[in-house]
């Protein structure tokens, strides 16, 4: 699978302070890539470098095969972006705003179109109505933006990213300021776009929001990329946890300790929990049953993204 974003040793320093430190990103086509990190970890700085808005101190970027910042505009033809909150014109309506934005880069879009093979054509005409529809602003599209709530403004920013069919969406904290309903809709929209073949690079510090939609994850902290890989891989880094419920918990505990070398703890609920280690679940089940202990619960709990994140960074993701 082709990589839509790759960076090598990407670094940005402001004076002595390293905002991004030797980050090697690799975002495969077709993925929904969650770029995770606490506030101030370097997510936004990285995204701005990907879009050519700020210049790296060191390192290389390739966006859709084009080096950035050298060929930023050629890459951006296929990229929709939401960068760190909305940037709107208060006196324009949503519709007029999208019209204005769609007129930027039309020349480059046409040039790209004529250079491409027929089957790989890109849209030159924006679909403003469709974009408003997708983000649920159709009914208020003629209202001036200054009357919008923060969530509506965020939706409008997203609509701008969706003016054309894109190969890649770069969304920096797209759910900022949205109500729970909006967050759910955003999630559904991303899933829908991904199913249509759009690669989505989405940053967030609220892991629960994107846990169910990401196929790939990158975790950044203090400007350094701590982990990058498939979602399952991140979870797999944490040992699987067992919870055991029996008719004789103390006997069960002794047996698990003696036979398998496990370290069960008794929870408030009365269940025994422990890291599974390399022990197979069916061996545990047969051992307990064989010892005449009544077994009513034996479950393996998958670790949450949040738990994996805490284990990786040593801090909760949502520190804000």
């Amino acid at each position: 699978m082709a990589e839509l974003i790759t960076t090598a040793g990407l670094t940005k320093s402001y004076g002595e302070k390293l905002a991004v430190d030797s980050v090697d990103l690799s975002v495969p086509e077709g993925s929904v890539y969650g770029f995770l990190g606490p506030n101030g970890s370097g997510k936004t700085t990285t995204i701005r470098m990907l879009l050519g808005l700020i210049f790296p101190t060191a390192g290389e970027i390739e966006l859709l095969g084009h080096p950035v910042p050298k060929e930023t505009t050629r890459a951006l033809v296929d990229v929709g972006a939401v960068v760190e909150g909305p940037g709107l014109y208060p006196t324009l309506s949503a519709r007029r705003y999208l019209q204005r934005m769609s007129r930027y880069g039309r020349g480059e879009r046409r040039r790209a179109l004529s250079a491409r093979a027929q089957g790989d054509a890109i849209a030159v005409a924006p679909d403003i109505d469709a974009a408003l529809e997708m983000v649920g602003l159709s009914k208020v599209g003629n209202r001036k933006v200054k009357a919008y709530s923060l969530g509506m403004k965020q939706r409008l920013s997203l609509a701008n990213a969706l003016l054309y069919p894109r190969r890649l969406l770069i969304l920096d904290e797209p759910t900022n300021g949205m109500d729970p309903q909006g967050i759910v809709e955003m999630r559904e929209l991303i899933i829908k776009l991904a199913s249509q073949g759009t690669t989505v690079f989405v940053s967030s510090h609220i892991l629960s929001e994107i846990e169910q939609l990401c196929t790939h994850v990158g975790v950044i902290q203090h400007g350094r990329l701590l982990f990058q890989g498939e979602m399952g891989e991140l979870r797999g880094q944490l040992p699987a946890r067992l919870s055991v419920g029996t008719t004789d918990q103390s006997a069960a505990g002794q047996l698990l300790r003696a036979r398998f070398g496990l370290q069960p703890r008794t929870e408030e609920s009365g269940l025994l929990t422990m890291d599974r280690g390399a022990v197979a679940i069916e061996d545990i089940a047969s051992a307990l049953v064989g010892a005449g202990i009544g077994l009513y619960r034996l479950a393996e709990d998958r670790p949450t993204l949040e738990e994996a994140f805490v284990a990786l960074t040593g801090e909760a993701s949502d520190v804000s």
Partner: protein, 268 residues
Amino acid sequence: MFLEELGYVIKRRRTLVSFALLAAIPIFLGVVLDIVGSPGGGHGQGPAFFDKVTHNGVFLGFTAVLTAQLIIIPLIVSIAAGDTIAGEATDGKLRYLLSAPVSRTRLLAMKSLVALIYATAAALTVVLVGLIVGAALFPVGPVVTLSGTQISLLDGIWRLLLVGLLAGASTFSIVAVGVFASTLTDSTIGAAAVTFGTVIILSILDGIPQLAHIAPLFLTHYWQTSIDLMRSPVVWSGILKNLLEQAGWMVVFFGAAWARFTTKDILS
């Protein structure tokens, strides 16, 4: 993108207010002259051609634009030029414009071009409103040049338009300085204030005899040469110097603006 930018600027409320202010200058001058009449004696007091307006309404256009050229037009042009980049940087709009497939050089060029058109339109507004108000309030007829010769009304109007174009072109250096200032800050007001301040300081320095040997470098130095169009024959040397002066400032400051904008980290 160019038409979008032009349309966006034209429809702004700030533009409407600015151009209303510009139109008010000839209207105000014309009404005052209509009520109180020509200044007594007529010994070249007041703005250029001021004493001729009541005899020939065409001169209202000249008087108005030569008056507006000193403060009002530079002020309005400073604001428009200072707004080009800084205005987009406020509220984080710039990062979205640059997330579109538009090179920074192109964006800067388009914004600058629109500002140059804006400056020209500002000067022409004064001239045209002056001409209309002058024709409505006073008699119009063949125009007497500064050399005492008479030219046809049509020729006079043509020269009036040229004076207007020159007044606009005289502010091109201001546009360049303003666009550069605009790439240095996120504040429209800050960029506009620096630009207008530069113009005012240079026009003050221009009058200091001790600086006479460097005064030809000041962007304001040849502003008054547009009056040479009203001589017979027209004296072109000063006008050409003015255009050269403006071109020099444009190359330097648009160049600096390009250097700054194409290498700037967009953090807003």
